[in-house]
């Protein structure tokens, strides 16, 4: 204020002084003329600045602030400082909002912000993907138009949002979502969505496992106790007794196999049981497996063995033998008589070892493939049990392979057959030195004699 007054008084003071001097020297006429000119100049000066101010005020607020002179300088200066402070404040706010938005977008759960009439205001990318929304189309659309599950509608209308609800995603029937509404800032709501497919899957597998084990054990037990009751109640001749005892023995064997498989699985899973690596030659193992296959097939299938590269494998021989044997026995069980089964081993160019069993069997539909290694998962229950499967074979294979960092690759076509291939990682496979090694050439000879397809049937 002081500055404004003092600067504002400089020009009038000069004019007044000039008028006084002129009056003293040249008389009243001159004095009046100088006074008039001074006043006109002062008015023009102020009008000019007023014009600048009004031009700035009618333009954008963050436009350049004009520079004033004289008494206007402090005024314009103050405006300039205000504008600059405000701009900086706004910039900070914008950054803050952007940071919040980035944080919201980075949250691993989906978030949809709903207004008071449950219309979509904003959503992070994960929510867009999980709920199949598209902000370009769906901003300010009612959420229930797009998330249409009746359970969600009921949840939204109930007003009780303490617990989340679990629904099957409307976009992908294999995805399970947990949805929860969180009211905030008076009349808005946040819809949090989380993909709980895996959790649900785990819970389902646990439930299924208990149910399956009980069921699998109950079936043979029922048969055995049924026979025991019959034998207690009825007089049987020797032949009948023999037959019943034989059937009971079969069922007892089934149970034994199942319990043995369960124990194998639990040993494989147990943390105390560390993998004991040993080096062993693959060729003798392949020959053993091939002989086992012959015995199991009883001459019903064409069997072939193809050993591409002799190699030494690092791993547990017993475990791998049981895994490979499981794959072979599956192929035999699921291939009708007169079909063929090809067992092969080769070392790939990248150094990984591939054991594969290809059959001309009934094949597996693509839908079943992801669940095939689940315990007791059966594509066709009646068939599996009729051929003496426990439903645990592939689960054991999976665990053995996990311990060896190996992968199971399944290719299959309904009615055409399947290929189950085990890929052992390169560090576990060592190519045997080429011919010259007497042991190796001996195996090679053996292999060749076993190789031509159909010789064994």
């Amino acid at each position: 204020m002081k500055l404004f007054v003092s600067r504002g008084l400089v020009a009038p003071a000069i004019v007044a002084l000039a008028t006084l001097v002129a009056w003293a020297i040249a008389g009243t006429g001159w004095a009046l003329a100088i006074l008039a000119i001074g006043a006109a100049a002062a008015i023009a000066f102020h009008l000019y600045h007023l014009q600048l101010l009004s031009e700035w005020a009618s333009g954008p607020l963050d436009g350049p602030v004009p520079v004033g002179r004289g008494s206007w300088a402090p005024t314009f200066g103050a405006i300039y400082r205000q504008v600059r402070t405000r701009a900086a404040y706004q910039r900070d706010l914008r950054h803050l909002i952007a940071r919040f938005q980035q944080a919201a977008e980075a949250i691993p759960d989906g978030i949809v912000v709903l207004d008071k009439t449950n219309r979509i205001e904003w959503a992070n990318p994960r929510a867009l993907a999980q709920l199949g929304l598209d902000l370009a189309h769906d901003t300010s659309a009612p959420i229930v138009n797009l998330v249409r599950q009746p359970e969600f509608l009921r949840y939204l209308e109930s007003g009780d949002y303490r617990e989340p609800i679990v629904v099957v995603s409307g976009r992908d029937a294999r995805m399970t979502l947990s949805l929860q509404l969180v009211p905030f800032s008076l009349d808005k709501k946040m819809l949090m969505s989380r993909d709980v497919t895996q959790l649900e899957e785990l819970a389902r597998m646990r439930r299924d496992f208990i149910a399956n084990v009980s069921h699998e054990l109950k079936t043979p037990l029922t048969v055995i106790s049924g026979f025991v009751e019959t034998m207690q109640d009825m007089e049987l001749d020797t032949r009948q007794r023999e037959r019943f005892l034989q059937l009971m023995l079969e069922q007892a064997n089934n149970m034994q196999r199942l319990v043995a498989d369960l124990l194998t699985l639990s040993t494989l899973e147990s943390e105390h049981n560390v993998l004991i690596d040993e080096r062993f030659a693959i060729v003798p193992l392949m020959l053993e497996l091939s002989n086992e296959a012959k015995a199991l097939s009883k001459g019903q299938h064409e069997l072939s063995l193809d050993i591409g590269d002799a190699a030494t494998v690092l791993g547990s021989r017993d475990e791998l033998a049981s895994a490979f044997g499981n794959l072979i026995s599956n192929a035999i069980r699921y291939t009708p008589a007169r079909g063929w089964i090809a067992i092969a081993w080769r070392v790939d160019t990248d150094g990984s070892g591939v054991f594969s069993v290809t059959d001309s069997g009934i094949g597996v539909a693509a839908d079943h493939l992801p669940r095939l290694t689940e315990r007791f998962y059966r594509v066709d229950r009646s068939r599996s049990r009729a051929t003496g499967g426990t439903g645990l074979g592939l689960a054991i294979v999976k665990h053995v392979l996990l311990r060896h960092q190996a992968e199971l690759e399944i290719k299959s076509e309904i009615g055409r057959g399947s290929t189950f291939a085990v890929r052992l990682p390169a560090p576990r496979v060592e190519r045997a030195p080429p011919t010259g090694d007497p042991a190796h050439s001996e195996y090679q000879e053996l292999t060749n004699s076993a190789a031509p397809r159909g010789t064994s049937s």
């Binding site: 199949g132 138009n145 797009l146 249409r148 009746p150 539909a365 229950r381 309904i414």
Partner: protein
Amino acid sequence: MTQDHTNKQFDVEMEGIRSGVLSMGGMVEKQLTRAIKALSQEEDADLLDAVGADEAAINQLQINIDQQCAQIIARRQPAAVDLRMVLTVSKIVNDLERIGDEVKKIAYKAAQTRGSDQLTRVRYYDVGRAAANALAMLQHALDAFARLDVERAASIIDEDEAIDAAFSAILRQLISYMMEDPRTITPALEIVFIAKSIERIGDHAKNIAEAVVQVVKGKDVRHSSAKQIRAEVAQP
């Protein structure tokens, strides 16, 4: 409805019938998801009860929404796009109710054919997949209606052709089973009915998509070829 009316209550009513259709659609989607489960899973004792109960709820919704439509026409005398919307809603509700009926049939037939082993694979795999396609198509049609997205609606009309093709493939497959083994005839016929229901669901979903084109473009595209409809949609 993009532009607001001076009468706010009218807007609320229009929004109400649209949301009503979509919540009815949500129930039908859920029913179809259940029916697909019934096709693939071993047993679910409560399934048929649940399907029956929801079917009744869907029918009730149809009646309610139809009533609301009639009231809007009587009280508000809507014109142009609003009138088209009301008429279309009434049509879509009809299609949804019919889909609900077909789904009920599928669930019951699926329960009936459960015991037969020879055709399990056809049922699990081919029919199950066709049903999943029909469900996706219904979801897309309802999304197109929620967003009034004509391009999406036009693409649904192509999806129907895929379902029709799947239906004839299933039929051929079943015929070969029946010729091989006469014991499969009874379950195969049941599966034919299921497949036919799925094919009908595809048709109803297509009707919904056509209705969306009609609301937005004001042109009746029923009985037009997919090409004509695309041309119509492409016009500004």
